[in-house]
Subunit: 338 residues, 2 copies
């Protein structure tokens, strides 16, 4: 299995990405194809001990910036790292692509090059969120906005299959993000989506309120990409803010408080690790004909390494085919019943 990594994507690219790919090759026995400025990548690699590691480089002369219109840039910049990397998956040279660059560009490249799975209106980013009861998958967390009810229903099916085959959960509990528990609550979108999700062949539990997400009351939470993106960024920022405030309170506090903080530090660090999204490496883009992992723009070496590990598990799960089959079966059932 070969994983291609967009070496030029991310706030700390190319260095953190290249080092992360090397770490993945060592720790997770991954075969890697790094895509980007060959000279720069070689320079970084030259300083590391990579003897016998299965790392190749594929040159790409362009980069898509965060401020560019994603779909336009993907169409024009044929030699952009994320475009070249996605093409390697399309051509069957690689099994999956990892990118920490512009999310919009990675989604656009996947849609334009790999194409959507038949029956899927829009792909969805499925972000794993840590909770006390395990991981909750939230989708869509930003691939698309202004969703239609059928898109949310499709996300429910795709998220359920990902939770089942990649996260190895039996009968994943799927919820619809909403503003009340009752079926009649919500806006126009969620009221219609509720009816579709109820009819889908998944373990749909009902509405998930905002408070249910951090508690981990659902395995999969379905929402429009606008709200998913807002909630995700809010959650990251809030966790950081609380830990910042704790540090600040300790600094301002009593000497005994400082001693207490010192003694408590190992415990707090263990907790921070448990809540660290970097542990998951990235989020799969579900609904396209290929395996795409989108990592956070601020990804460091460890995050990229974990993203490669996530990409391997994703490919091994064969989820893309499971989604294809689920949608085909559904169509056959529908045709049969007419």
């Amino acid at each position: 299995m070969k994983i291609t990594v967009d070496a030029m994507g991310g706030d700390f690219a190319p260095k953190a990405v290249v080092l992360g790919a090397i770490m993945a090759a060592k720790k997770h026995q991954a075969e890697i194809v790094l895509v980007g400025d060959e000279a720069v990548i070689k320079d970084i690699i030259a300083k590391e001990n990579v003897e016998n590691l299965p790392i190749e480089i594929k040159n790409a002369t362009e980069v898509i910036g965060m401020d560019e219109h994603p779909a336009d840039a993907v169409r024009v910049k044929k030699d952009a790292s994320v475009v070249v990397a996605t093409n390697l998956v399309k051509e069957g040279v690689c099994d999956a692509v990892v990118s920490a660059g512009s999310t919009g560009a990675a989604v656009a490249a996947a849609q334009l090059i790999l194409k959507r799975i038949r029956g899927i209106g829009r792909p969805a980013i499925a972000t794993p969120m840590p909770t006390p009861k395990g991981v909750t998958l939230m989708l869509d967390s930003g691939a698309n906005v202004d969703s239609k009810p059928e898109h949310l229903a499709q996300s429910g099916i795709m998220g359920s299959l990902y939770a089942e085959h990649v996260q190895k959960k039996s009968k994943p509990r799927v919820g619809l993000l909403n503003i009340g528990e009752e079926e009649t609550k919500g806006n126009e979108l969620t009221k219609e989506a509720y009816a579709l999700l109820k009819d889908a062949d998944i373990n749909f539990i009902g509405n998930a309120e905002g408070r249910d997400v951090p508690k981990g009351n659902f395995d999969v939470v379905v929402c429009d990409g606008f709200i998913g993106n807002v909630v995700l960024k809010f959650a990251e920022s809030m966790a950081k803010t609380i830990f910042f405030l704790i540090k600040d309170a300790i600094k301002e506090g009593s000497l005994l408080g400082k001693l207490g903080a010192f003694l408590l530090m190992p415990t707090l660090k263990g907790l921070a690790k448990r809540l660290d999204v970097a542990e998951y490496g990235g989020a799969p883009l579900l609904g396209v004909q290929g395996y795409v992992i989108i990592s956070h723009g601020s990804s460091d070496e460890k995050t990229i390494s974990n993203a490669v590990r996530a990409a391997k598990a994703y490919v091994e799960s064969n989820v893309v085919n499971h989604i294809k089959n689920a949608l085909t079966e559904k169509k056959e059932t529908l045709n049969g019943s007419v």
Copy 2:
């Protein structure tokens, strides 16, 4: 100034509400009219020392439950506590109403009895959220869903006036909750709302991303009530979850860690108080012709007392008239320029 309190509304009503009203009368020199089952309220009061406190009781024989359709219930149950209390404001007997009961019922009662301010399409709940840089006001946090762009623009104006006159902030920084910094980002709703907010006579800074809210980068954040409600419930639950996990980690941790936690406890308690939404008492419902404070369903005695304090400051600010004037001036300017 007289504040009427819906004694029957809230998870711990009537006891916590009545005790909270007594606390407010003592601590905040508030004149109170408690509305609800007179016999029950008298029973609770009888056990307290309320001599010479300015507390009256107004009997109401009905209650609107959480599971009832708000507008229908307000229309049918003429003697429901929240309806009677809102009527006291309408009639000029009281200056403001506080309710911790069904949010939908309080909003419906305000809309049907007090009526909207001319020029406001929909009222909005403006929830104060604690941040390291002070309070951020988020509106709408659940009065309405499926907003139109003009509703978000009106929320921007109302939130700005509340921040200025009640929170005493000069030129409050108003942001539009969105999924990117740039003006072109967002969904159909936010793209159109951006243009309207830019033209409004407020200090509109631009888009606020999810990450900006916990950091306190804005004084006022404008959004549709669906997303505001989800984010608010998410935030409450996440804060609780993190503190729960810290406690849990301490319990499972080393003896030194436990000692550390013990020494750190006063510091952490001070921080928890700083982040406690109960400190604010409740959220104003902006856009109706009267002063309405909506408190959390789980309000305890202290929260209700703080809600009465908030209601007093709200009335003193004269914000309802400021909103009326702002909308009238706007209309005149528009007419003048035609």
